[in-house]
Symmetry: C2
Subunit: 360 residues, 2 copies
């Protein structure tokens, strides 16, 4: 039995280090905002919902530490604002991280205005972080069930990256749909893209699917088109890091190509994500910052250089899939269809305000 | 200065082991047909034209050894036929290997009918193998020059796998076009697909481009679509392992997806290959056998397991690109356009008979 992949207690955030799976199950013990930001940047914790949860716990950690040293309410707020800035900067593309820390800040601003003291506010932040975590698990289950209903029987789903328990509070988004479809008897097989360069599919999605005994076949990313052409892929399902108001979706590099290929083969292409991934502040995909990561992730593996010593590599971590290639977006409020600008706007009315805190 | 990547002398075939590049330049010394077949199967030598050349030298090696032990003409022919069968079976998809060994057999059948003795026939086979090798280099230069003329100035070409000197007798097919375009001042940059699982792009193409000081950027295969969408790819150029009579093309897995993506982005998609890659015996891509290689190539790298221990992986080594996605096929006889069934048939009239030996 593995430990929980993310757990917060008494100022300590424990994470299973996802860079080590499946080689080893190593729990990282984080006690400062800097360590949390570093773990997010280094992808010890990754996946849009999971880094949102880690960010919220990072804020709780900062609040507890700040309250313990009897800061003034003003200094407390300054320190929380600085922590939010630091955490948000760790990874720019996924909206969930900045959403979570800004939601904490907005909540604190209300409490601060009401004259509440740091110790009380710290307790509020911790409770709020736990609620974000618990809500995410519940959200994933709803996404999973809504997505499973969409699928035809005997499906062979192709997925990219890891969108499972590890990437969320638990259960998963696209992988949540896969789990629900499996439990509903609608799924025959999962094609798992290995997802270069960091191999989240080969390392993490296979690991989660094996634990649930869901049949799966790993492929190199460039094999997807071949199996689509052979009629062996009934639908593609992926997660999302940020969804613009018009439905354009940022997700792990390689997603856009899959969407174009699915379109060319008449295969449905589904995005599964919590409503909080829909970013009201982003009009279209053109407005989304694409994180560029170190070329070493492409040119080396496990510290071993794959290429000639001076090879230059590009390493955009995400790409943008235009809404026109997306068959449906599966959220905890149900299935959104084109015209996405309308369906997303309608969904956002259901979704907000969340806990009285409106941050978008 | 590196040794020649393939050289035959006095019954010994020397190959730079391509599985070791760029980590080390190791020359394999092969003295039996079994060793040559093993080197082809294990991809110490790879690339459709290069394995054809290696196969021809393997036949020369067998002929020399058989002549040295004074076999009867009949036993000599039996042994050569067995060697041809063994070599052809090493890799099934590329036509060049079976073409080369069958061309040697056909030549021997003529000489044998004329009453020629094994020693004389062995000399003929060696001369013929050397001619296949020399012709291939000349063919590549013609392909390179014909292809370079096709390209618009300031091109940014995207290529897949390795189609360079290492994959041919020398110079390269698609990489030959890249070299010629570079020398003609028409090329700005090359996008190099890393080409999972065996990373021929990351290991070999980068290595060749660096030696020629041609600017290049390595990308993970799944990044290609992203850069196409950004307008940063002016054309895609790849090699071929077998081209059917209708133009359908077998090439390294991942090629088909690139062709669909290029089509979707209005980007020309070129195939560069010697006329001998066009297989008159194959009507369409559906008739081409796709080699399935060991799943270990996907689940491990450099002997290190990437995935959970029991992960099942698929590993088709090639895919089929339907002719409709191919803008042009560049051969040593010039540029073929659709309708490919006509342009290929016309080209085959130019190409045959080759050295009086018609094998297709």
């Amino acid at each position: 039995m593995n430990p929980p992949h993310i757990a917060y207690e008494s100022g300590v955030l424990r994470l299973i280090d996802q860079t080590q799976i499946p080689r080893a199950i190593v729990v990282s013990r984080l006690t400062t905002v800097e360590e949390v930001a570093g773990a997010i940047r280094g992808m010890k914790v990754r996946g849009a919902p999971a880094i949102g949860i880690a960010g919220a716990y990072g804020m709780a950690m900062c609040a507890a530490a700040s309250a313990a040293v009897s800061l003034s309410a003003e200094d407390f707020m300054n320190r929380m604002t600085e922590a939010a800035r630091h955490l948000s900067a760790a990874r720019p593309t996924a909206v969930n991280l900045s959403w979570a820390v800004n939601a904490v800040l907005a909540l604190l601003a209300q409490r601060s205005l009401a004259g509440e003291q740091p110790a009380a506010m710290a307790a509020v932040v911790e409770a709020y972080a736990r609620k974000i975590h618990a809500d995410d698990i519940e959200t994933c289950r709803r996404i999973g069930d809504a997505g499973a209903e969409l699928l035809a029987p005997d499906g062979a789903l192709l997925t990219h990256c890891n969108t499972g328990s590890l990437a969320t509070g638990g259960y998963g988004t696209a992988l949540g749909v896969i789990r629900s479809a499996w439990h509903a008897g609608k799924l025959k097989m999962v094609w798992v893209d290995e997802t270069r360069p960091l191999l989240q599919g080969a390392r993490l999605t296979t690991w989660e699917l094996a634990q649930d005994s869901i049949p799966h076949t790993l492929i190199a990313d460039a094999m997807a088109a071949h199996f689509m052409r052979r009629g062996l892929v009934s639908a593609v399902i992926v997660g999302a890091d940020r969804i613009a108001r018009n439905g354009d979706t940022a997700n792990k590099i390689g997603t856009y190509g899959l969407a174009v290929l699915a379109h060319a083969h008449g295969i449905p292409f589904y995005v599964a994500a919590p409503s909080s991934t829909c970013d009201g502040a982003t009009a279209t995909g053109d407005d989304i910052i694409i994180e560029e990561r170190s070329p070493d992730e492409v040119t080396s593996m496990g510290g071993v250089r794959l290429t000639p010593a001076d090879t230059h590599a590009a390493n955009p971590a995400f790409d943008i899939t235009p809404a026109k290639y997306i068959t449906a977006i599966v959220t905890e409020f149900g299935v959104l269809r084109a015209e996405f600008s309308q369906s997303i706007a309608a969904m956002r009315v259901c979704a907000a305000p969340r806990d009285g805190v409106t941050t978008r």
